[in-house]
């Protein structure tokens, strides 16, 4: 088996952008491994518009957006293997994979980019009691059936969870002739983008019930109905039950990064994101193993996935060229004041180029209004920005000037926090 300097695990938008950026940074020897039968990842089933506004300044569908990157990969003649499942990643970066043509094989790259994306949280993880009949799907599974295969999994639908995929499927199922009765959301706020609530629910008159959950599923063979109830302090309130006859329950209750391979290799995982802990170069706790996209933390816009992954690809190319990781001290990035996590989790201050920008992405744990986002290096404030509304469903991005950080070389930590404006 031919060996490669860089192996990219996953050929979704993250993997493709990493590959393109690594090649443009001068790296010759790159291989993408993808378990599906085409490149593009989850975007292939997202046939609605709204992708690429930031990257290409036009509105593309998911497959079109993926297509742009696929073309670049082909133009740059970056090799890839489809229908190829990576089964194991070892701490020494040995990649074990399998497909029908090559059988089982091992690769020994100098660097790896993790770009495996994420999966949806299943019913079991949500502890919904009741029977286990046909007709309960995650929104993504329904999306695949409808958008890629033309099948309607049901005609009368209740959706639990207001994540973006659930919202988009509420509209899609309606357009395909199903009746979506209600979207119930456990939290007092939606987990999805504001624009999706307007365009996918409001425009079609589909009610969104916040602080509601499914307390029972009826039907032994096929779903016949669900019972919703209002939730207070995490518990359903007796007497608030409402029954909805339906044949389908779609679940859109969150995504879980696919880090089984990363864990197997011993990569340190952030319990908040379920993704690897990375430095500002997107390098994980294993030198030469980088991560980007949904495997790192769940993104709501694919444009940011592409940006992040391009950085990971460039950094992987630099790692291979220079034969290792920088030696600078890793200063931890901490969060407070309602910020749930940050990516990166550390910055190697002394390795920074004074002219560069350090991108910090984060999410908040609740809905906040009229706040100021503040970043401190040690005790010194180095960044501030007003934020009128912050919501868990929307990822925030900060560009910190390396110059500002470098003025505080002794800082013990970098703190990202919110304060009242």
């Amino acid at each position: 088996m031919t060996e490669y300097d860089l192996v990219i695990i996953g050929g979704g938008p993250a993997g493709l952008a990493a590959a393109v950026a690594a090649r443009k940074a001068g790296l010759e020897s790159i291989l993408i491994l993808e378990r599906d039968n085409e490149l593009g990842g989850i975007l292939n089933q997202c046939i609605h518009n709204g992708f690429g506004l930031h990257t290409f300044r036009e509105e593309l569908t998911g497959p079109e957006y993926a297509g742009r990157f696929r073309e670049q990969v082909q133009e740059l003649r970056i090799p890839y293997k489809l229908n190829t499942m990576v089964l194991d990643l070892a701490a020494d970066k040995t990649v074990t994979a399998m497909n029908g043509e090559d059988g089982l094989f091992c690769l020994h790259p100098k660097a790896v980019v993790l770009a495996m994306g994420c999966r949806e949280r299943p019913r079991g993880a949500l502890n919904i009691p009741g029977y286990r009949p046909a007709g309960i799907y995650t929104a993504g599974t329904a999306q695949r059936l409808v958008n890629m295969e033309g099948y309607l999994p049901g005609r009368n639908v209740v959706i639990l969870g207001s994540g973006d995929i659930g919202l988009i499927m509420a509209r899609r199922m309606t357009l395909e002739g199903a009746k979506v009765h209600v979207v119930a959301e456990l939290m007092p706020y939606s987990g999805g983008l504001k624009r999706n609530i307007v365009q996918c629910l409001d425009d079609y008159g589909i009610p969104l019930k916040l602080s509601h959950t499914v307390v029972d599923i009826q039907g032994k063979e096929r779903v016949e109905g669900v019972t919703l109830a209002r939730v207070e302090n995490g518990k359903p309130v007796p007497g608030t039950e409402e029954h909805y006859p339906c044949d389908t329950l779609l679940l859109s209750c969150g995504l879980i990064p696919e880090n089984e391979l990363s864990r197997g290799a011993g990569v340190e995982i952030n319990p908040v994101t379920n993704g690897p802990l990375v430095s500002d170069t997107l390098e994980t706790s294993i030198p030469g193993v980088f991560a980007a996209g949904n495997v790192l933390h769940v993104h709501d816009l694919v444009d940011y996935v592409s940006q992040e992954a391009a950085a990971a690809g460039e950094n992987a190319a630099r790692y291979i060229r220079s034969g290792g990781t920088g030696t600078g001290r890793a200063v931890p990035v901490r969060c407070d004041g309602g910020v749930r996590y940050t990516v990166p989790a550390s910055v190697r201050l002394s390795d920074l180029d004074p002219e560069q920008t350090v991108t910090v992405r984060f999410r908040v744990g609740n809905v906040y209004q009229n706040k100021r986002i503040l970043v401190y290096a040690g005790d010194a404030p180095i960044y501030r920005r007003k934020a009128r509304v912050l919501a868990p469903g929307e990822m925030e991005t900060l560009g910190l000037k390396a110059k500002d950080l470098l003025e505080h070389p002794e800082a013990e930590q970098i703190l990202v926090t919110l304060e009242d404006a």
Partner: protein, 476 residues
């Protein structure tokens, strides 16, 4: 005319069928569901109990100990996932010691080997995640775990290999005694058999009452469970029970043969014999109790919850015997029915053999190969397999790494999978952490192709459990 009709294709019916296939006889198994193992045998704790629990002198105790002794050889012959992991009954309060000692003595009387009472230190050393408050425990080194589907499918396939016929979607609704045989009535067809065996699980009272002069009542008693992700592998090594006592009756925490952790069950009496719905209260009960005997159980790793129904009869005993001429009961098989199944099979087969004076089947072959799991092969063997059959290089279920080759094998076996759940129970495709999110559309396509049915007729578990209700815009 069949020599024997067995009603019910759970672990009991399948064990009986396999034992009887050692004899020359025409045997038919009638099952109301669409597949083998759709009743209680699919939803239980999957423990092969060592046999200290069932009261000494009962049939239950005898068959449990026998069954547990037969299991290792059976697992080898039929290629079943089975593992002797030991079991612990943990005592949480010193006042409960008499109960622990009584359990030990009952076990000794039942003939269970190797029983010992472990004190705190030894217990801690054996199971680091045991609660700090645990005082002592009864240790049974012969306690084991098994794949309950695997056991039931293996018994059925081996019976089929030796000539037993299976028919599904056949609910027995009546039994008529004619001069020298029984008429067995189903909505589709009426059958004739010299002997009828009742192995209908929670419905075994109804079948009994169709044939026998006395009446039987079985109450379903539900047990709810959580199943945790394989990330919890090794949380406990032994099956950990809590001794019923001052803190009530706890729930068990056990590894499964596939590396998950199972937590449960509750005990909730019901009226509905198909009432396998979990309830919030039931799941809350498991949640509240599971942290007593062990500490730090990561319940946030739950991938699914489910419930099964015990076939409870007031006397808490197995009913096995000829209840009417040519009508043999294998009724009220509640826990430890799974553990006892091999011995139940032998006992019922002996009764039937005596009634019919059956001769040995010289062609009986008591071995069976399971669905080939390529993960158990060496790298070279695996590579060779993929070269020979590329379907083994195509992963369908990503969480459990199940290939198309394994799924095709599951569908093409006899009796083979005909639904998503049938594939899942045979191969584990869809049993992993995403619970079929990725693979179910792909498995549906394979089923549609292999069975020659449109996607709209592919079901989750037979009957009306269709997965697709239409095509895009068909109603517009």
């Amino acid at each position: 005319m069949f020599d024997v009709i067995i009603i019910g294709a759970g672990v009991s019916g399948c064990a009986i069928a396999r034992e009887l296939s050692r004899k020359k006889a025409g045997i038919l198994v009638l099952e109301r569901a669409e597949d083998v193992c759709c009743g209680t045998s699919k939803a239980n704790s999957a423990i092969v109990h060592a046999g200290y629990d069932a009261k000494h002198g009962t049939l239950m105790a005898k068959l449990n100990v026998q069954g547990s002794r037969m299991m290792p050889q059976l697992a080898r012959d039929l290629d079943i996932h089975y593992q002797v992991n030991g079991s612990l009954v943990v005592m949480m309060s010193p006042e409960d010691r008499p109960a622990l000692v009584a359990l030990y003595e009952n076990g000794i009387q039942n003939g269970v080997e190797g029983l010992r009472i472990l004190e705190r230190e030894e217990l801690r050393a054996m199971e680091p995640n045991i609660s700090d408050d645990a005082v002592a425990a009864l240790y049974a080194p012969t306690g084991a775990i098994i794949c309950p589907f695997g056991l039931t499918f293996a018994l059925a396939e081996n019976a089929a290999k030796n000539g037993v016929q299976f028919q599904f979607d056949r609910q027995v609704t009546g039994l008529n005694r004619l001069e020298d045989h029984w008429e067995v009535i189903t909505p589709q067809q009426t059958y004739a058999a010299k002997v009828v065996v009742n192995a209908a699980g929670v419905y075994s009272d109804e079948i009994h009452n169709m044939a026998a002069p006395d009446k039987m009542t079985i109450k379903p008693r539900r047990g709810d469970y959580f199943l945790l992700d394989k990330t919890t592998r090794g949380f406990v090594k032994n099956t950990v029970f809590q001794l019923p006592g001052k803190l009530g009756k706890g729930v068990l925490v056990a590894p499964t043969v596939h590396g998950n952790t199972i937590v449960g069950p509750t005990a909730i009496d019901l009226e509905d014999k198909d009432g396998t719905a979990t309830t919030r209260e039931g799941l809350e009960d498991v949640r509240a109790k599971c942290g007593i005997a062990v500490k730090g159980l990561p319940l946030n790793q739950t991938i699914t919850s489910f419930a099964g129904l015990r076939a409870h009869e007031a006397r808490h005993e197995f009913f096995i015997g000829e209840a009417a001429p040519g009508f043999v009961d294998c009724a009220a098989i509640e826990s430890p029915g799974l553990s006892s199944a091999p011995a139940i099979g032998v006992m019922v087969a002996d009764i039937v053999t005596n009634i019919l004076h059956l001769e040995d089947n010289p062609r009986f072959d008591g071995t069976r190969k399971g669905i080939l799991d390529p993960k158990t092969l060496s790298r070279e063997e695996y590579a060779a397999l993929i070269r020979e059959n590329p379907a083994y290089g195509k992963v369908i279920c990503r969480c459990e790494t199940i290939t198309e080759g394994e799924i095709l094998d599951a569908i093409r076996r006899v009796p083979g999978a005909r639904s998503l759940d049938g594939v899942k129970r045979r191969t584990r495709a869809g049993m992993g952490r995403c619970q079929g999110g990725f693979c179910s559309p792909r498995v549906m396509e394979i089923l549609s192709r292999e069975l020659g049915i449109p996607m709209s007729q592919v079901t989750k578990s037979g009957g009306n459990s269709r997965l697709i209700l239409g095509t895009n815009k068909d109603s517009l």
